[in-house]
Symmetry: C2
Subunit: 428 residues, 2 copies
């Protein structure tokens, strides 16, 4: 890890910079994929699956029986773990969208919002190096709580033509029975435009490699909504002498193992603490199966020594990390000072991996500085709020003059007339 001691504010701007991801080349490469799926549907999806994944497939839909049977295929211990995580995630998400009262803004003018689930949603579940069944939980649970009518999953199949049973079981547990064995940019295109067998959806969710991410960006310009822009995963830790260095080291490594482009940052006001954490980190690193990836990410990661906790909070807010761990004295008093972060972990016993899997919070979070303006995925991501108004004749009499006056001054006479004609010709 590179250490920066008391960097200047000018230097801060450099330190928070993410590696710029240039999607231009990738997008020009995937554009033909998107176009072909749009025009040729299933045939194009088959062709690209053969070309990119080296898998010959012509029936994408996973048989429902296979989904129902997956329960028997996975270890009992894993099934219990998924069930436990399911329970916590459901508990945390189920309170997220509440009905609001009807507001009588003026006498006779009644306004309200209604939560209506997005009808058709598509969840992309990566299956590359590992089956990300945890992401099924994080997307399918809020979709179900929202009440989406049609929930589909696209996920690449293994070389043997099957989907990992942990993904199938998790989908089954979440009540999602429509799973297509399609991955990559072609899966995103299929959900965006629809094919003979894969339905077009209103919104696409889920992480993926750079092709998937670029395809999501591209279809988002073409009338389909996506959950959020995606980038490499990030973690910032603020630690002081109250931290357990071995715990912090483990957290930094858990982030670093995601990929060589993972963003890992340790901020502390105490240099000996930094040194202890680094020592622990190097010793834990040696034993990791994903050593190569993790060691590279560690090399790019940063230790930043700052003067005091106020500076540390300022720095973190400027950085706007996806994940933020606070292991400092009196961390609760710092909560109101957190302005930009995706998900925050407090104290020595709240590892970031708890939020990734089983504490209940969502792990689909804003990266790349988008924590400044985006929230993580929640039930709200699967709902739109439609406004309603019911105005009675007296109500229109109350607010009519204001509408007429404002419309007149905005030069919109027909808007004004829509009120005038009603107040003049009141139905008895």
């Amino acid at each position: 890890m590179k250490t920066y001691k008391y960097p200047t504010k000018e230097m801060w701007k450099k330190l928070i910079e993410r590696p710029s991801e240039d999607f231009k080349n990738i997008i020009s490469g995937i554009q033909p994929v998107l176009d072909a799926v749009k025009s040729d549907g299933d045939n194009a999806v088959c062709e690209f699956t053969l070309r990119f994944d080296n898998i010959s497939i012509n029936e994408f839909l996973v048989e429902e029986q296979l989904i129902a049977d997956a329960e028997e295929e996975i270890p009992v211990k894993l099934k219990s773990a998924i069930d436990k995580a399911y329970e916590n995630i459901w508990k945390f998400h189920k309170i997220q969208v509440q009905e609001e009262p009807v507001i009588e803004t003026s006498p006779g003018v009644f306004c309200w919002r209604r939560n209506v689930a997005i009808e058709k949603v598509g969840l992309y579940i990566p299956g590359g190096t590992a089956p990300l069944f945890s992401t099924v939980l994080m997307l399918a649970i809020p979709a179900r709580i929202a009440g989406c009518l049609q929930i589909i999953i696209c996920t690449p199949c293994r070389k043997d033509g099957y989907i990992h049973p942990a993904i199938l079981y998790t989908a089954y547990k979440c009540g999602v029975n429509t799973i297509f064995k399609v991955g990559g940019a072609q899966a995103i295109a299929a959900m965006a435009y629809g094919t003979q067998s894969i339905p077009k959806v209103d919104k696409i969710f889920g992480p993926g490699n750079q092709y998937v991410t670029a395809a999501k960006q591209k279809v988002a310009q073409d009338g389909v909504t996506i959950d959020m822009p995606a980038g490499p995963s990030e973690l910032a830790v603020i630690a002081d002498e109250t931290c357990n260095p071995a715990f912090v080291a483990a957290d930094l490594l858990s982030q670093a193992e995601h990929g060589t482009d993972s963003q890992v940052m340790l901020i502390t006001m105490n240099e000996p603490v930094a040194r202890s954490i680094e020592f622990e980190l190097q010793s834990q690193l040696r034993n990791l199966p994903r050593y190569d990836i993790t060691a590279k990410a560690v090399k790019n990661s940063k230790i930043i020594i700052l003067q005091n906790i106020d500076e540390a909070m300022q720095f973190v807010n400027l950085y706007a990390p996806e994940h933020l761990i606070l292991v400092v004295k009196d961390y609760k008093s710092l909560i109101p000072k957190i302005v930009n972060a995706g998900s925050v972990f407090l104290g020595n016993y709240s590892p970031e991996s708890a939020g990734d899997y089983a504490s209940g919070t969502n792990h689909t979070l804003p990266t790349n500085g988008f924590a400044r303006s985006y929230s993580g995925v929640s039930v709200e991501s699967f709902v739109k709020k439609i406004t309603f108004q019911e105005i009675n004749a007296d109500g229109l009499k109350n607010i009519g003059p204001a509408i007429e006056e404002m419309a007149k001054h905005e030069g919109l006479d027909a808007h004004k007339n829509a009120v005038t004609i009603r107040t003049k010709n009141r139905i008895k």
Copy 2:
């Protein structure tokens, strides 16, 4: 208006099609504007303001005194109208973001979300043919309720170098004192990248012409968030024999006057009703000051005769209109059947223009079919919800095994270790 009698479902797909907006040419035209503002800042903004708007200006910031004084410059009647609208919009929006409780998902595992305002927001207010002070209300009020720290407005000035006092007064009323006299793509670029005098913001809101819309689309790919993709305004009315044809005609015209590309659709199960509305519409149209624009939009608008109210609801949900007016028998029973719409107006005394100005609901709404997946602007648009978790040692003991098991099966051993190291080395 063109009438379609009992169109087939195949035909429905054609009827709901929006005119495709090809931004490619516009984007290639504005790209140099965005690039120049990014690299040259204020100088570039000056240059483009002179070139496009023919206004020579080098101080963009409106003096605070001018903003405070605007109250005296506008008619008393207009001031009262704005004040009335302000009050209703504030009332409707102030309840929109509620704190959620802390959830103990498992014993010792505490999770919650905190509403945190987006720090810096930029509101674009068009000033072209008319000063859209109503949009100031619709954006600045939720921004203030959310608690955004920095709220700036960009709006083009008049030929005389001043901003219309109705815009200044409305901003003042809403507590926004940072107003820049800049419009067009250069204003969007300035807020996206920052210049010497105009700060970079985290999220850009507001409507605009096609250059503004294209610029927003473009900067959204460059790390800045925007409120929503924009398209021409839309209205669908479902009317039956309980409607007042003159009222419906006035509503259709109020939508049509927005622009020649406005989308206006009347759906009814009763042909004589359609004819009466059309008759009223033609007679009201003749007297409108914006006759030319409105007549063109009317020519492109559609009357669709369907078999029954169920079909009408299906059609409207497929269309997903920005605005929907229901003037049919027993309209309340139809509310649960509305799946895709931005804002809904119920009964004979709820004209769409009420929602545009003063009933309290927001008028920044999803167009172009985005009502399938987007909500209109609300306080939520100015807030992100940060998740927090605080797990104690017992809590981690409870959920630790699930995390370890899941991480292991996803091949992420460092994630597993972050739990194991804690459960094995519990601090006393």
